[in-house]
């Protein structure tokens, strides 16, 4: 059904499904803007060189979540959307962990609320995307190893023990991943929107 939806323009999708896809795409577009704002606010509060052009700290995988790979765009759309949904499910515990670290580094700043909001938004977008995938009859994504929240908390604890600078780096990595995956989701959903790029 997924491929039919894309390939055959003579098939009229259910109006509700089309509306849901539009809605989810619009949500992804909005969250892309918020994710960029979060990233900018984060780097500003950590101080230079965070946020400087050319700042290139180590970027290893974080708690099993890596950035969208170079080959992501070449994958079939259902697979891309499944990867997007998986990333969006992995992000909230990481954002919560970063918020706890920033509560020590930047107490009583608006950044803490923004990180909390980002976790909620990632959950919302992930749930919406899962609903779209289910409606399209796509195979469900592989469940992530549990518990993701405990893994993220342990990662944050390790960063805190390592010092303030590693904690700042962890947050930079997570905020960057959040921005990258939300943006990737918007682009992938855009191909599902009727009239969007193929």
């Amino acid at each position: 059904m997924f491929e039919d939806f894309q390939a055959d323009s003579s098939i009229s999708p259910l109006p509700l499904l089309e509306a849901k896809i539009h809605q989810t795409h619009s949500l992804a577009r909005l969250l892309t803007k918020y994710a960029e704002q979060l990233f900018q606010e984060y780097v500003q509060l950590q101080g230079d060189p965070f946020g400087r052009p050319g700042f290139s700290p180590p970027r290893p995988p974080v708690a099993g979540l890596s950035a969208p790979g170079a080959g992501h765009a070449g994958l079939p759309l259902p697979e891309r959307l499944r990867l997007d949904a998986g990333a969006l499910a992995a992000l909230p515990p990481l954002l919560d962990a970063v918020r706890r670290l920033q509560a020590e580094l930047n107490p009583r700043t608006a950044l803490l609320r923004r990180l909390e909001e980002a976790a909620r938004r990632a959950r919302a977008l992930g749930a919406a995307l899962e609903a779209v995938l289910a409606a399209l009859g796509a195979e469900p994504r592989e469940p992530r190893p549990e518990p993701a929240a405990a893994a993220a908390a342990a990662a944050a604890a390790a960063a805190a023990a390592a010092g303030a600078f590693p904690a700042k780096l962890l947050g930079l990595r997570v905020c960057g991943l959040y921005r990258d995956w939300v943006s990737r989701t918007e682009a992938d959903l855009g191909q599902l929107v009727p009239g969007g790029p193929a």
């Binding site: 509060l45 950590q46 101080g47 290893p60 930047n106 390790a158 805190a160 010092g163 590693p166 780096l169």
Partner: protein
């Protein structure tokens, strides 16, 4: 992450997390075959220092034969490369740094001191916290809204500039018994304020103080002792109405209602009125309206829009002898005086009931006239009330220019009035 004082997160991480690689190795790049990533360790990690002090730090690369040596390492602080003369090589794997006369930290999350490999890659980082211990907070002031809560404000010592995150905690307790309590709702009326919403006792004094704490120390304010009833404020008077006084071109009547939250307690309340011309920023204040809920503004300009506000001081509540705290001003209410072709007087004060003369120039002249009349005329019942009635009548008959007798006037007083009163009347 204060040096030497691990927080709860650090304490819980002393046991390695199960099943997962330590994030430290992940974040800083554990040496992996073929990855090219190498790490180092900076000491001290996250130190806290006084402004003006010095720092000796080292960057030690891990003992990897393929890894960088101290030869090519360099330091940056907040993204700026530090001069090479501040560094020296201690041994093959360790580069030392000496910083003197440190400035206050640029951000509360700490200055970023980073050790780089020759190619610019980051090997390790440490955050410096450079600042001052807090000074004693002072100038605590508190007020209670309608006796239901308490809000306090204070000034941080040294105007708060410690360059470090400084935590302020407002504490309070009943003077002669009870335990210390900590206020929980901060920043309610500015950055250094706190609100206690409930469970406050009346008729018994409280002791209130502020404690300031940061990485370099703590300070405590002097104790303020107060009774809630001595610092009561209330809401602005509601339902403020401003209206014309008949056709009188230089007067407006102001009426309001006592603030409802304290309406049963405001026997000795005081009110203040302020008013201004529409296109002016200068308010005129009428003090001491006592506990009335109406007032007449006199000596105003004819044909002019005025904005009026009223505020309340719940003086004397439950027998308190203290001055009380003025409420906020009510929302501005506007009204205009009737137009007149004759130039009016410049402004005046509120005219209380009873028509006692105030200090405006017109009033002064009239007072003199009335005094003269009493000596030379046979009418002794002239008063400002009659004068107001006469003026209203004059305005009505202005166009027809008819001469009428006023009620209660005497022929001789009438003639004298025409002779003595200036034209502007």
């Amino acid at each position: 992450m204060p040096a030497g004082r691990p927080g709860p997160a650090a304490q819980s991480a002393r046991r390695p997390p199960p099943l997962l690689p330590l994030l430290l190795l992940c974040v800083l790049g554990a040496p992996r075959g073929g990855s090219g990533a190498h790490t180092a360790v900076i000491s001290p990690q996250d130190p806290t220092l006084l402004i003006g002090s010095s720092l000796q730090a080292t960057c030690s690369v891990r003992g990897d034969p393929q890894g960088p040596t101290a030869e090519g390492l360099y330091w940056t602080l907040n993204g700026r490369r530090l001069p090479p003369e501040l560094s020296r090589i201690l041994n093959a794997s360790t580069l030392a740094l000496a910083l003197a006369n440190l400035n206050g930290s640029r951000q509360q999350s700490g200055d970023n001191l980073v050790c780089h490999a020759q190619d610019g890659s980051i090997l390790a980082g440490s955050c410096l916290y450079v600042g001052l211990p807090p000074e004693k907070p002072f100038n605590i002031s508190c007020w209670s809204k309608n006796m239901k809560d308490l809000t306090c404000r204070w000034t941080p010592g040294a105007h708060g500039e410690t360059f470090l995150h400084t935590n302020y905690s407002l504490k309070y307790k009943l003077r002669w018994y009870g335990q210390d309590n900590t206020c929980e709702e901060y920043h309610t009326v500015g950055p250094h304020s706190c609100h206690i919403p409930k469970d406050l006792a009346l008729f018994t004094p409280y002791e209130i103080w502020v404690e300031a704490t940061n990485r370099l120390g703590s300070a405590r304010s002097d104790v303020l002792t107060l009774d809630i009833l001595d610092v009561v404020t209330t809401d602005p008077p509601p339902d403020v109405h401003v209206s014309r006084v008949g056709g009188l071109e230089d007067q407006l009547s102001v009426r309001w209602v006592s603030p409802p939250a304290l309406k049963d307690f405001l026997f000795q309340a005081k009110y203040q009125i302020r008013y201004r011309v529409e296109d002016s920023v200068d308010w005129k204040v009428v003090d001491d309206v006592s506990n009335q809920t109406s007032c007449r503004l006199a000596g105003l300009k004819p044909g002019t829009v005025y904005f009026v506000q009223v505020r309340c001081n719940p003086f004397g509540i439950y027998g308190s002898k203290k001055a009380g705290i003025w409420s906020e001003w009510s929302h501005p209410t506007a009204a205009s005086t009737p137009r007149s072709e004759r130039p009016g007087p410049g402004g005046g004060a509120c005219e209380p009931r009873g028509g006692e003369p105030s200090s405006g120039p017109v009033r002064r002249e009239l007072k003199q006239f009335l005094g003269w009349l009493k000596k030379h005329a046979y009418c002794s019942n002239l008063s400002f009330r009659l004068y107001d009635q006469w003026r209203a009548w004059m305005q009505k008959s202005h166009k027809t220019r008819n001469q009428h007798r006023t009620r209660g006037s005497c022929p001789r007083a009438d003639a004298a009035r025409r002779e003595v009163l200036p034209d502007k009347l």
